[in-house]
Amino acid sequence: MTQHATTGAGRLYGYAASGLAALIFVAFAAMAPGVVGGQPVLADWPWAPSLNILLAFMVDGLSLIFGLLISGIGSLIFLYATGYMGDHPRFGRFVLFLFAFMISMLGLVMARDLITLFLFWELTSITSYLLIGFDHDNPRARRNALQAMLITAGGGLALLAGFILMGTAAGGYDLAHILAGQGLQEHPLYGPILVLVLLGAFTKSAQFPFHAWLPNAMAAPTPVSAFLHSATMVKAGVYLLARLHPTLGGTPSWTVTLTAAGAVTAVLASVLAMRQGDLKQALAYTTLMALGMITMLLAGSHPYALTAAVTFLIVHSLYKASLFMVVGAIDHGTGTREVAQLRGLGRAMPVTAVAAFLACASMAGLPPMIGWIGKELIYAGGATMTGAPLVLAAAVAANALVFAVAGVVALRPFLGAPVRTPYPAHEAPWQMLAGPIILAACGLVAGVLAQPLLGAAIGSTLTGSLLQDRAAGLHLWAGFNAAFVLSILTFTLGVMLYVMRDRFATLVDPVLRRLPSLDNGWDQLLDALRDLAAWQTRVLQTGRLTGYMLAVFAVTALALGATILHGRPVIMPELPRSAFLWLTVGFTAAGAVVALNTHSRIAAIAGIGTVGIGVAVIFIFAGAPDVATTQLMVETLSAVMFAIAALRLPGLVERRSRQRQLAHGAVALAVGLCVTVMVLSVTASPLDRTITQYFEENSYVLAHGLNIVNVVLVDFRAFDTFGELIVVLLASFGAYAVLKRKGRAGA
C-alpha cells in the first residue's frame, strides 16, 4: 500500500473513533443497572407532530444488549482497522463511514418510534453501501455494494409500508404505545403488516431467499465484515423481529414463516459454509446460519426459545467478530485467505492462533464456552416450539456442520507443518490482536460466569422487551437432559463431518451445483430490468418527432372523444343563411386544402394567406375591426417572413405512406371534430355577459376610452398585454440568437 502524507492523521482518527466507541460502551454499561432493574431509559423530541411522528429513543434490556455489543465490538474494530489499514490514503473517510454506521446502528436499536427506527434502518443501508463499496475501483465491489443496497433498501421500502400500516392499525408510531397495547394479531391489517415487516427483516438479515447479498458483501475490507456481519447490520433484522415479537408474534403464520425461513437458511448456509475455500466466505455463510437459527428461535413464543434466541445472538456476535478479525490477521500476515494454502501458522502467529481456538470453541459449542450454553438453550428452546422435531433436526444438522466448519477455520490453518504463503507468515500488530483475543476471551468468561454476568440482562430482555413472564437460566451444566443428548449427537456428527469432509463434498457438490444460483439470478434480474427499460425507451422515446406528435394528438382525441361520450354535452347546430358567410367559409376552407398537400412552397404560403384573409373577413363580419386589422397585419408579416425564409428552405415532399396518411388523417379529423363539438356545445347555452357589460359601462367613465377593446388591452387587462409584449420581444430575441449565433460543434 502506498504511503500517504496523512497516514499519521488517519491513524489518529482510528484511535479517536475507538475511544469514542469505548465511551459509548461505558455509557451503556452505566445505564445497565437501571435498565436491568426494570427502568428503561427514555428520551423523545417532537419531529413531525402533524404526522404524529416522534424522534424517540428508549434503552431497555434488548436495546442494552445490542448497544453493548455494538459499541464494545465497535471500539475493538476501530482499533483493529487502524492496524489493518491505517495507512490507506482514505482511511479517514473509512473511519467516518464506519463510525456513521455504528451510530446508525445504535440509533436503530434504541429507536422507540417506528419512523425513527426506519430512519436509522435506512442509514445503515446507506453507510453499509459506502463501506461495502469502499474498494471502489474494483467493479466487483461496486456490483456487490449495489446488490446489498438494492436488496436491503427494497426490503426497507416494504418495511416502511409495513410501519405505516402498523401506525394506522395501532393508532400511532410510538413503540412504547404499540407494545403496551393489545398486540395487532387480531387486527384486519395484520396479514399485510406481517408480510411487509418480514420482508424488511428477512432482507436485512439475509434470510433465504434474500441471502445472496451477504456473502458478496465480503468484498468490503475485513474490519467492515467483522463489524457489519457479526453484531450489527445483519442483526438489525433479527432485532426487529425480536422487538416486534410481542405485537406481531405468536400467530400460526408468524411461527410457520419464521421457522421455515430460519431452518432453510440455517441448514443451507451451513452446508455452503463447508464448501468454501475462502475463509472469509466460510465465515459469511456461518453468519447466515446463525441468523437463520435466531430467526427460527424467534418463531417460538416460549421463554426457553426466546432466551435461546437472545443468548445465541450474544454468542454469535462475540465469536464471529473475533473470527473475522482473525481471518483478517491471517490475510494480513500471509497474503491469502485460501484454506488450501494455509497450514501450520500456529508457530508464526501464536496469539492469533489462541484467539482462533477460543473463538472456534465457542462456535463449535464446546464447554465451557458461552457457545455451549447457547447450543444447549437452542435445543431446550427448540423442544418447546411448534414442530419441535423438525426444528431440532434442523438445529442439530446446522450445528454439526458449523462444528465441522469451526474445525476447518481454527484447526487446519494453524496446525501441521508450515507451507509457503504469498508473504512469509508473520504476526499482526497489537492493534489487530487486541480485538480477537479480548472477544474470544469474553466468550470464555461469559461461559464460565454466564448467569452472574448475563442472566440479569437477558432476564430483563425477556420480561421487559419480549413481555415473557420469565427467562431460562444460563448454566454450563443443566443436567443430563434431552438437550445434553442432542449436544453429544451434534459433536459426534460434527467430528464425523470434519473427518469425512472430502466424502461429504463429493456427496453435496453435485446437488449444490444444480441448485439455481440466486447470485446469477440477481444478474439476470438486473439484465431483465435493463432490457425492459431499453425496450420501453425504444417504444416510447423513439427520437422521432412525428411519433411524439402523433401520440400527443391521439391522446388529445382520445381524452376529448371519451369525455364527449362520457359527459354528453348539449349541442344545437343551427345553420346561417348568409350567402356571403358561406362563401367566406368556403374559400377559407379551400385555402387550407391547398396548403394541405401542395408541393409548391408558394402555393402553400398563398393558401395559408387565403385562410388568414378568410378568418379576417369573419372577424369583420363579427364586428371586430381591431382584431381583423391585427390579423391582416400579422398575416402579411407572416407571409413576408415566410417568403424571406422560403428562399433558404428546400421544397416540400410528401413522404408518408398511404397507411400513415390514413392514420394521421383519422387522428386529425377526430381532434377537429372534438373541437367543433366543443364550440357548438359552448354556444348552445347563453353567455353570461356580466363582465363585458361592466366594460361597456365603465370604459369611458372610468378608463376614458371609447374603443372598448383597446381599453381592455391597455387598462382592464393591461397585465395580459404586458406579458404579451414580452412574448413578442423575447421571441425576437430567441430568433435572433438562433439565427445569429454561429453554430458550435458538438453532438
Binding site: L637, N707, N710, T721, L725
Partner: protein, 133 residues
C-alpha cells in the same frame, strides 16, 4: 431587388407608414388601432425599406439596434405599470392628466411601450431573417 419604383418610393412610403402608425397608435384608445397595430404598421415600413435598399441601409435608417428599441418599449411599459405606486394605487392603474382636449396618461405610455416593443421585435426578426443568406 432592382425595381426603380420601389427604390424611389420606399423612402416616402416608409415615412408614410411611420406617420400612419403613430396616428393609429395615438388614437387607439378611442378608435380601432393602438400600440399593436401601430407597431406592426411602423415595422412594416422599415421592412419595405429593407426590401428596397437592403438590410444594412435599413439598419442604418433605424439607427439603433432594434432589440434595444424593443427593450426600451418594455421598460416604458414597466414604468407605466409601476408609476401608479407614486399615487399609492394598485399596479398598472392608469393615471390621467387631462388638459383641455389633450389626455395624457400612463395608459398611453403603456401603449407606446407596446408600440416600441412590437416595432423592435418585428424589425429584429425580419432583419435577422434577411441577413441569413
Amino acid at each position: 431587388m432592382n425595381s426603380l419604383i420601389l427604390s424611389v418610393g420606399a423612402r416616402f412610403l416608409t415615412a408614410l407608414f411611420l406617420l400612419f402608425s403613430l396616428f393609429v397608435l395615438l388614437r387607439g384608445h378611442n378608435s380601432p388601432g393602438g400600440g399593436f397595430i401601430g407597431g406592426l404598421i411602423g415595422a412594416a415600413g422599415f421592412v419595405l425599406y429593407s426590401f428596397a435598399a437592403g438590410v444594412d441601409a435599413a439598419r442604418r435608417a433605424v439607427r439603433v439596434d432594434p432589440r434595444a428599441i424593443g427593450v426600451w418599449g418594455m421598460a416604458l411599459a414597466i414604468i407605466a405599470g409601476l408609476a401608479s405606486a407614486l399615487a399609492s394605487l394598485d399596479p398598472f392603474t392608469g393615471l390621467w392628466l387631462i388638459l383641455a382636449d389633450l389626455a395624457l396618461s400612463t395608459v398611453l405610455v403603456f401603449d407606446i411601450g407596446v408600440y416600441l416593443a412590437v416595432f423592435g421585435a418585428i424589425l429584429t426578426l425580419v432583419f435577422a431573417l434577411e441577413e441569413t443568406l
